[in-house]
Amino acid sequence: MNETVDTRDSLLARVRDPADREAWQEFVAVYWPVAYRLARRAGLQDADAQDLAQQTLLAVSQAVERWERREPGVRFRGWLRTIARNAILNALTRAPRDRARGGSSGVEILAARPGRDERLTESLELERRREMFRYAARQVEHEVDAATWEIFRRTTTLGQSCERAAKEMGKSVGAVYAARSRVMKRLRQRVVELDSGELEGESPMNGPAGEESR
């Protein structure tokens, strides 16, 4: 059996509004890894975690078909996010019974403790933010010139000091500070934009600022 399938496209075909389609693409790019990573952290093996992520997308895609813009206040993004969050939580809290024995113990304990839902929700939000930033970063990377991005990369993920990056790249220290701060600002703005489908009144945890407690 050689099923060659692009899940993204097949799911996308169901979303008819072009604006919603974009939201859906973002959604898949962000939520597949969120579901996968949470599942792995919950002790599932790679294949099982991939299944869980796939099932989550499937569940959400079923809901998407029934999505209608009924009330102006409810945006597709926000709606999608709620459905996805529920689908993931649902899948994960159902998971312990199905989980491989001898899996990573820490999370099993976590799962067995009361209040695990809060913790899970918290991890989900963290993973979601992480994926949002990664998604935004892929976009911003293409919007700035290569040197600027390289400065940002060196001084963040590679952990170089601005001074060293300046020296190695033949830039002034001021230019390095300027470049990395600009990219950061832009990145954050992009994440806010991605998040802007939210309704007002969501918990502060989901807010765009990022300095909230964790």
Partner: protein, 496 residues
């Protein structure tokens, strides 16, 4: 640096960050930053707080999970159905030990490999000669990329143990399991002949007797497996080997089979199984039991009758959707000459709700066997009661169900609201059905829901198809806080 000094200005820093500063301002500021650590600090803080700088550093760094699933690829890794391993067969063959037998491709343990049979869910199937017993065997070798994973090895061993415990004439026998050096492998009985899948592709739709023979034997094999607590999970024509035509067949590749109570591994079905023959519960990734195999058997028999599987679509995901959401096209629309009762039996196997299928594979085997006896000698052997009852029920169901509920609903209104409702009831009653024995179990299930309802509620409830209930159920399990969006999603899930 001799550039003109510029005064520290937070406002200009902000403009700079927003890229709304003029080019002149920009170059001035860049120079200023070179000599002004406090402005550099201020600029960084203005872009993001310390915490967020740190988060972003961590988040944008790939961790082991990103590497594990390759999810960090731009756009996200989404080809989750497409885990292809192209040179697997070559890899397995190249790992064989050398041999002095000119007819052999190489040696695996004591077996001389003489050919490649195909690829299964977990690896490569080879044809081999067992020198000691002078017989041919099929050897299933765990794919090398899987053999590297301890959990896959464990699963493979489980599969082998489980399958080896099933001894039945309609199940391919497991001779041996080896886990020594190299990829683990499984030695099975070699079945000469072709798979049901190939036969369907080659010859096309089957006749009634052949469908019954296959249904009977596969169900018998499944019953033996189920008796061991084993669910096959991957019943499909490609796993049904025809030894001597349809007279004798063997069910193979318990590739996904696991002890049903071994819940630890039940989650994996979805991707590894062939979507077209999956049960709805498998497609949804829910836990499954023996009745899941019955649905898959229904799909296989459907394919025999129609020449094509019941749920087809361009993509795996769309197939899954069809399995969960849609009824297969009635067989008799495709094959008008198919007997009513056979279509009804297959439809019963195909019930979306596991409860509505047969109780067990043993029941299916018996009913199909009895039907075969009837077909061969209609004068002496009557059609089994199960089959004739199904036909009657199906005929009634289409027309009767709504009317009956209308009557029951109407009756309750009658009791409560008297004369005004009477006209409604009279109208609903027009087709003039008596209340009947309500032998249909699906009706009995519905009755309690209607008691105490109004005339319109049961009717509108009835208008929603069966899947409305599933949505409601999955919704119920969605836990949530007091979230406005959540309330919205509740409504969105419900069919209008």
């Amino acid at each position: 640096m001799t550039a003109p000094r510029m005064a520290c200005s937070h406002e200009s820093l902000e403009r700079f960050l927003d890229a709304s500063a003029t080019p002149e301002e920009e170059s001035q500021l860049t120079v200023h930053l070179d000599g002004c650590p406090s402005c550099r600090e201020a600029l960084s803080r203005s872009a993001a707080g310390d915490l967020e700088w740190n988060d972003v550093k961590v988040w944008l760094t790939d961790d082991e999970l990103d590497h594990a699933a390759d999810v960090s690829r731009p756009g996200g890794s989404l080809e989750i159905f497409e885990r292809r391993h192209p040179d697997e067969t070559a890899l397995v063959l190249s790992s064989l030990a050398p041999t002095d037998d000119p007819h052999s491709l190489g040696r695996l343990g004591t077996y001389e490999i003489v050919g490649v049979v195909g690829r299964g869910g977990f690896g490569v199937v080879l044809k081999a000669h067992d020198r000691a017993l002078n017989r041919f065997v099929a050897i299933k070798v765990l794919a090398p990329h899987l053999a590297a994973s301890a959990s896959a090895r464990r699963r493979f061993a489980r599969e082998a143990q489980a399958a080896a415990a099933v001894v039945h004439e309609n199940v391919v026998a497991i001779h041996a399991v080896s886990e020594r050096e190299g990829p683990p492998y499984l030695v099975m009985e070699y079945v000469r002949g072709e798979s049901l899948q190939r036969r369907i592709d080659r010859v096309g739709p089957f006749g009634t007797a052949e469908i019954l023979r296959v249904g009977h034997q596969v169900a018998a094999g499944l019953a033996a497996a189920h008796a061991q607590g084993l669910v096959h999970r991957d019943v499909k024509p490609a796993n049904i080997l025809l030894e001597e035509g349809v007279e004798r067949l063997k069910l193979t590749d318990f590739g996904l089979a696991r002890a049903a109570d071994d819940a630890s591994l039940t989650r994996t079905g979805a991707v590894s199984g062939t979507p077209q023959y999956m049960s709805p519960e498998q497609a949804r990734g829910e836990s499954i039991d023996a009745r899941s195999d019955l649905f898959s058997l229904g799909s296989a028999l459907y394919a025999m009758a129609a020449g094509r599987p019941p749920f087809r679509a361009e993509t795996s995901l769309a197939v899954l959707r069809r399995i969960t959401d849609e009824q297969a096209r009635p067989l008799q629309e495709i094959v008008p000459e198919l007997p009513d009762w056979l279509a009804a039996l297959i439809a019963k196997l195909h019930a979306k709700e596991a409860n509505a299928r047969f109780d067990s594979a043993a029941d299916v085997a018996r009913v199909f066997g009895d039907c075969l006896a009837h077909l061969q000698d209609p004068a002496k052997t009557p059609l089994p009661e199960e089959a004739s009852r199904l036909v009657a029920k199906r005929r009634r169901a289409l027309f009767d169900r709504k009317q009956m509920l209308a009557i029951i609903g109407g009756a309750s209104v009658l009791l409560v609201s008297g004369a005004i409702a009477f006209a409604t009831v009279a109208a609903l009653n027009a087709p003039g059905h008596e209340e009947g024995s309500a032998e249909s179990s699906s009706m009995n299930e519905n009755v309690p829901k209607l008691v105490g309802g109004t005339a319109t509620e049961p009717l509108s409830h009835q208008d929603a198809d069966d899947w409305g209930d599933v949505d409601a159920e999955s919704l119920e399990s969605i836990r949530n806080d007091v979230d406005r969006l959540e309330a919205e999603s509740v409504r969105l899930f419900d069919r209008p």
